[in-house]
């Protein structure tokens, strides 16, 4: 196992270097360079221009800059952003990342949970009304033009029903008197969410050791409830509750939209895998053992069909760091996706490369995690 991980890591590092090089050269070759967009600023003196050029390394030929970049890349230094000069690219990303992660990880988890449940049900009742209806609705949302869905949701929930804020991250009216920055609150929120996930995972682990079904269910639900109550007490007593609530309110619409957009993907994968597994002989055996239908479905079929879905899930978790360009634009959510657009529009090469590289790293890590997880879920695989 450790040998396997080592081997994979080695492969991944090579892949990463190739990827970073491709990204670097692709962006480097973009027409309209840094000079045109940044240094041509008439307010700068010639000396200042030279200094800037030197600082960004543009006095050196391209291949030297590439080598320098790779050297810095190994130290996880992705350079300085043009747009947010003089902030480092890494620090820009670190500011954007939590917002994107909170939004997209939540949406991904919800949509996979939904997709998994729907998928196993519609596969079990293949060809019935539920199957057709869920497939139809799923595919329509899966292929819907994303801006349209966002517009639609904003219109219905924001404009017509006036339930939720239209877009943005916070509502300035509420935050006028705040003694704490939105970023701080947000970090606390993420911490809270993280604890919730952690407790959930631990509870699941404990539940898997327990014998009866009721005990399993109780463990999971009780621990979740406990965390929720404790969090509630914390937010209430600290007085930050109102701010946190504001952020959460801004989150609902984008999460809802994202979930609608992507649940069909996992649902259809689940359905297809289930259909394949239902034909296996061990499903017939399980039925012949006299097990009730839903146990055969959940314990025997869905458990096996889970494997490809888990891979998909982990890899899409990796992709969440890149955010969604469309969604973030439509909801004016200042995350990674928006950063892509900003970097592109202002020819901020270091930021653009940084964003792409960062995404690549996370996706590769996700691949590795998926492989390891697969080995845990499937006893047949021993590396």
């Amino acid at each position: 196992m450790i040998k396997y991980i080592g081997k994979r890591l080695f492969q991944i590092i090579i892949l990463l270097f190739v990827y970073v090089s491709i990204v670097y050269w692709m962006v480097e070759l973009m027409p309209g360079s840094f000079v045109a967009h940044f240094i041509m600023n008439p307010k700068l003196t010639p000396e200042a221009k030279e200094a800037l050029k030197k600082q960004f390394g543009f006095d050196k030929p391209a291949h030297i800059r590439y080598l320098l970049y790779m050297k810095n890349f190994m130290k996880m230094d992705l350079g300085i952003s043009f747009l947010y000069y003089p902030r480092k690219v890494v620090s820009v990303i670190m500011e954007r990342l939590p917002r994107t992660l909170f939004l997209f990880v939540t949406a991904t988890i919800i949509s996979y949970a939904l997709g998994f449940n729907l998928g196993k049900r519609i596969a079990w009742r293949r060809g019935k009304f539920l199957d057709t209806a869920a497939t139809f609705v799923g595919i329509v949302f899966w292929t819907i033009f994303t801006p349209i869905l966002a517009i639609f949701n904003i219109w219905i929930f924001g404009v017509l029903l006036k339930l939720l804020p239209l877009n943005g991250f916070i509502d300035p009216n509420i935050w006028r008197k705040a003694t704490i920055s939105s970023q701080e609150i947000f970090k606390l929120l993420i911490l809270n969410g993280g604890i919730l996930l952690l407790v959930f995972a631990v509870a699941l682990l404990i539940a898997s050791r327990l014998k009866t079904l009721t005990a399993k269910k109780m463990t999971v639900w009780m621990s979740l409830l406990a965390v929720l109550i404790i969090s509630f007490i914390y937010w209430y007593t600290s007085g930050y509750g109102i701010y946190a609530l504001d952020i959460l309110r801004h989150l609902i619409l984008p999460i809802f939209t994202l979930t609608l957009l992507s649940f069909a993907g996992s649902m259809l994968v689940m359905r297809d895998t289930m259909l394949e597994i239902i034909r296996e002989d061990y499903i017939t055996t399980a039925k012949a053992k006299g097990l009730p239908d839903n146990i055969v479905r959940d314990k025997h079929a869905a458990r096996n069909a889970l494997l490809p879905l888990v891979t998909n899930f982990v890899i899409s978790l990796g992709f969440t760091v890149s955010g969604g360009i469309i969604t973030e634009t439509m909801f004016s959510w200042p995350g990674m996706g928006r950063a892509y657009i900003e970097a592109l529009n202002s020819q901020d090469i270091p930021l653009l490369v940084g964003l792409l590289v960062f995404t690549g790293i996370f996706v590769l890590i996700a691949h590795l995690v998926a492989d390891i997880l697969y080995a845990f879920l499937d006893p047949r695989i021993r590396y």
Binding site: E280, D281, Y282, A288, G290, L291, P292, R303
Partner: protein
């Protein structure tokens, strides 16, 4: 004592082109401790018979009539008319099954022992885990597996071991009847021989009833007290195994007996039954074997022969049953 009695059982698969008459009027009885073999070629519906008895059928299957009377502890129930939730109680506890592709009958992600325990707990929720484990260990000993292997996953087993585990699983709820559908087809001869001997021994020891299903008449002959020969959805002949070998009455049975080369004895000329088995989708009327039968006449093509008891315990469905010692020539 009669434990299972199947009366004129009919089960068709509905397709776009019509009904596939996979089980078309089958009757037999099975006594306690008796073993019966069903022999037939692929596609003749022999697997459908077992699936019909246990009601493990795909959605397009339709019962067209008949009864499956099952006698459990002096109470007789008709499995066909039982509601699904009731039926579930009879599966495994009343009748358990060893499947055709036993290699794939174990769920790859659960430990073998746990899969057996699951079946036991399902039928007896009060059973404690320790007792269940003890029972599994006993079963493993019985089928010749190392009890320590129950915490292993199926992929760590060899083909023969998997088959033994399946047998242990089939025995786990002390069923009255075990249906073994091609239990040794995928195995090599030596392993096959061992498993068959094991099964025979266990059956005698526990006084269970068995139904063996196979295409291999030699395998059936080794383990069964009586043998039913199935052709195109129907039983064409049923008798105790010695009778069926010594005086087969149906031309198809005769053809099957003489189609096997043998390792010992004279090197004899083999019989070839000409033609192909008929399609079960909308079969023509008359005897279904008639197109391949050298003895067929007009009556065979127009009138379905009745399945009658010609002597005690010897049923045959043929207009022109063979005399003892009659030789028929199927031609080339």
């Amino acid at each position: 004592m009669e434990i299972l009695s199947v009366k004129d059982l009919k089960m068709y698969y509905k397709t776009k082109l019509g009904y596939v008459k996979a089980v078309d009027g089958i009757s037999f009885t099975l006594d306690e401790g008796e073993s019966m073999g069903i022999v037939g070629e692929s596609g003749c519906g022999k697997t459908s018979v077992s699936m019909t008895i246990l009601r493990l059928l795909p959605e397009n299957a339709e019962f067209m009539g008949g009864k499956v009377l099952f006698n459990l502890d002096g109470k007789t129930v008709d499995l066909v008319s039982l509601p699904e939730s009731e039926m579930r109680r009879y599966r495994w506890k009343g009748i358990s099954m060893i499947f055709q592709a036993a290699m794939n009958s174990l769920n790859p992600v659960y430990k073998v022992g746990d899969q057996i325990i699951e079946a036991m707990l399902n039928h007896n929720p009060k059973l404690s885990m320790d007792d269940a484990k003890k029972k599994v260990a006993e079963l493993f000993e019985l089928v010749g597996l190392d009890p320590r292997r129950m915490d292993q996953y199926p992929h760590q087993y060899s083909g023969g071991m998997k088959q033994r585990a399946i047998i242990a699983m089939a025995l786990s709820c002390d069923p009255k009847i075990i249906i073994a559908d091609e239990p040794t087809t995928a195995l090599d001869v030596i392993v096959q021989d061992k498993i068959l001997r094991e099964m025979k021994k266990i059956q005698e020891k526990l006084n269970m009833s068995m139904i063996y299903i196979s295409h291999d008449i030699a395998v059936i002959a080794e383990v069964s007290d009586k043998i039913a020969v199935m052709y195109a959805g129907k039983f064409v002949e049923l008798a105790d195994s010695i009778t069926i070998f010594k005086k087969p009455m149906h031309p198809y049975t005769y053809g099957l007996m003489h189609a096997f080369p043998s390792v010992t004895g004279e090197r004899k000329e083999l019989t070839t039954i000409p033609g192909e088995p008929i399609n079960l989708l909308n079969p023509p009327k008359g005897c279904r074997f008639a197109p391949r039968c050298p003895k067929a006449d007009e009556r065979c093509f127009s009138e379905d022969p009745e399945y009658v008891e010609v002597e005690k315990g010897h049923f045959v469905a043929c207009h022109h049953p063979l005399e003892v010692g009659e030789v028929i020539n199927f031609g080339e």
